[in-house]
């Protein structure tokens, strides 16, 4: 049973992988742009998780027509749509800040920024 679950639920591997890679990039990379990319990858992991939740075997797209059921759950899709909009706005704000930091300090490297601060 457990083995069967491990073998069939490969979507969740991708979720765990994306969350892990995103978080690692966000923490480990000194480059501010890569941090923002890491943040996006992390959020994508969550989107995939939510979309996977909606799936049911043999389900059809949730457009109600005669005899088309069963449907996959539409609710998580709506959540992901909203969360994508939120993610895009966050990325826009983050990139605007990165542009401003670059024009002030001429670097995108976190360690260089730290050194500039302590001089």
């Amino acid at each position: 049973m457990t083995l069967d679950l491990l073998a069939t639920r490969y979507n969740y591997y991708a979720v765990a992988l994306l969350l892990g890679i995103g978080l690692y990039m966000l923490i480990e990379s000194a480059n501010l742009i890569k941090k923002v990319i890491g943040m996006n990858v992390f959020q994508t992991g969550i989107f995939l998780f939510l979309v996977t939740l909606a799936f049911r075997a043999g389900g059809n797209p949730p457009v109600v027509t005669e005899g088309a059921g069963p449907y996959v759950s539409p609710l998580p899709h709506v959540l992901v749509l909203t969360a994508i909009v939120v993610g895009v706005s966050l990325t826009a704000v983050a990139l605007a800040l990165v542009v401003r930091i670059y024009s002030k300090y001429g670097t995108l490297d976190e360690t260089t920024l730290d050194q500039l601060y302590h001089e």
Binding site: L26, M39, I46, L50, L75, L79, L90, I101, K104
Partner: protein
């Protein structure tokens, strides 16, 4: 009528936020007027809503006519209206301060109004996903406000805040996903029933709790998830740091309380002692480490920022203890801390403008030179330490009584110790202000009399100081308000 009140708390500032950028096409500097008119309207709505809840009890509103649990529900109970009134009051205070202190750009006030909308939304929503959206609106607006400072430092602080804050909100969203997987619903009231039906020992429910609480803890800035907060507070303009320090963490702590009491309920905390102890543990560590870090700071604003880490530990400890007394205490301290900390940030701004002093050493001997500002600072600091009859004392006292009631002795010990720790960092400043010779030469800004300070700025901080003491008189009313509408959630 009252139904429209609750939704206009959010709609009013969102719509008004669009006005300043549009007006920029023709006029400069109308942002302040628009924001002030909106904040006055917001205050009237919040007051009317508070009155409705006081007389008629909990108010519910189904957005767009879609009934709960399918649609989004807005709910106002005693705790909600307290937070809503606090948001209005602090907005008006900060606007009075920012009239002269700036920033004066239209976009600043647009973001200011978006932040008011986001915070109000977090206060009134009865839907966990809707809470996520408002959490992010609040987040984006506060990143913008932090970045509105002139230097590059504010941008760096804002980016750090953005990255850490986004991870927090994302963890919350992941937790919501787990709760959705377990129950198939997002409505808070519906979740509380269905989570119980699924069983509190279910892995899904426990994971949802862990992720949601971890996410909100980032936003509240409890140790060790506070790393964004000192830079964000210290490197932003004074108006923004007063506003953000007074409200953003406060409303996030409110959201955490809402999740604890309305979604997971006290039965969950009783059934899963490890969850309660984890929360109490994080809160206690935060109280102690926040204070120790505050003592170690030489910059006054950074010290105040670390002090928030410690004070929010107190609030969360009160909510985690979850007896009626402790919840009243935590609520009083939540509101009281907002007034005191906002006032403290505003008054450090005034002192820095007048004298250029921003470090603990620089405050030496200012008591004689700046009697009003130094007096306000000292009064607010004593209120924060918890000297009776200030509101800081009442909050802590109720939390301690509640913890004794519940027999949570570690909290009692840490709370009593924390008063000494708070004294440790504020007494040092009091000693500098009043008893130290001004050994350090006046900083350059002081030579030409510094930047000007308007009467409105001074009045704002004096009002904050008066409220820090006067709010004590409102505590019985808070008790009664919570008794009518919130305690049914926490009676065990």
């Amino acid at each position: 009528m009252s139904n429209q009140l609750i939704v206009s708390l959010v709609v009013l500032p969102i719509l008004a936020a669009a006005v300043p950028p549009l007006a920029s096409l023709r006029y400069d500097r109308v942002g302040w007027a628009v924001a002030t008119a909106t904040a006055l309207g917001h205050a009237a709505v919040a007051g009317a809503l508070a009155w409705t809840v006081w007389t008629d009890g909990v108010v519910r509103y189904a957005v767009g006519g879609f009934v709960a649990p399918y649609g989004i529900e807005l709910v106002a109970d005693g705790l909600t209206v307290l937070v809503a009134v606090l948001i209005s009051a602090v907005s008006l205070g900060v606007l009075a301060y920012a009239r002269h202190a700036g920033p004066h750009t239209n976009t600043f006030y647009s973001q200011f109004l978006l932040l008011v909308a986001g915070l109000s939304g977090m206060a009134v929503t009865g839907d966990v996903f809707n809470l996520y959206v408002f959490l992010e609106i609040t987040g984006i607006a506060s990143y913008g406000l932090v970045a509105s400072g002139p230097g590059g430092r504010s941008s760096v602080a804002a980016l750090k805040y953005l990255v850490v804050g986004t991870v927090g909100a994302s963890l919350y969203l992941l937790g919501v996903g787990y709760a959705l997987a377990a129950t198939g619903t997002l409505n808070m009231a519906d979740l509380s029933v269905k989570l119980a039906a699924v069983g509190y020992d279910s892995t899904l429910v426990l994971t949802a709790f862990g992720l949601i609480v971890a996410g909100l803890t980032v936003k509240v800035a409890l140790f060790p998830l506070h790393t964004w907060q000192p830079d964000a507070y210290a490197d932003s303009p004074d108006s923004a740091s007063a506003f953000i320090s007074a409200l953003v963490s406060t409303v996030s702590a409110y959201a955490l309380a809402r999740v604890l009491f309305s979604v997971f309920t006290v039965e969950f905390l009783v059934a899963v002692p490890v969850a309660r102890w984890a929360l109490v543990g994080v809160a206690c560590v935060s109280i102690v480490v926040g204070s120790v870090l505050a003592v170690a700071q030489s910059d006054v604003q950074r010290m105040l920022a670390y002090s928030s880490v410690s004070q929010f530990g107190l609030v969360i400890a009160g909510f985690a203890v979850a007896t009626p007394l402790a919840v009243v205490g935590a609520t009083v301290h939540l509101v009281g801390h907002a007034v005191m900390k906002g006032g403290l940030f505003a008054v450090t701004g005034i002192i820095e403008r007048r004298t250029g002093a921003s470090t603990v050493g620089g405050y030496a001997g200012l008591g004689g030179r700046e009697p009003v500002a130094a007096g306000v600072f000292a009064l607010l600091a004593l209120a924060m330490v918890g000297v009776p009859p200030a509101v800081g004392f009442v909050g802590k006292w109720y939390i301690v009584l509640g913890a004794v009631d519940a027999g949570v002795w570690p909290v009692v010990a840490v709370l009593l110790g924390s008063t000494l720790l708070t004294l440790a960092y504020f007494a040092r400043l009091g000693e500098r202000l009043y008893f130290a010779e001004p050994t350090i030469a006046p900083e350059p800004a002081a030579a030409d009399g510094g930047e000007s300070v308007s009467t409105a700025m001074t009045v704002t901080v004096v009002v904050a100081a008066v409220l820090a003491v006067g709010l004590t008189a409102a505590v019985p009313a808070v008790d009664q308000l919570l008794d009518q509408t919130v305690f049914e959630l926490i009676r065990q």
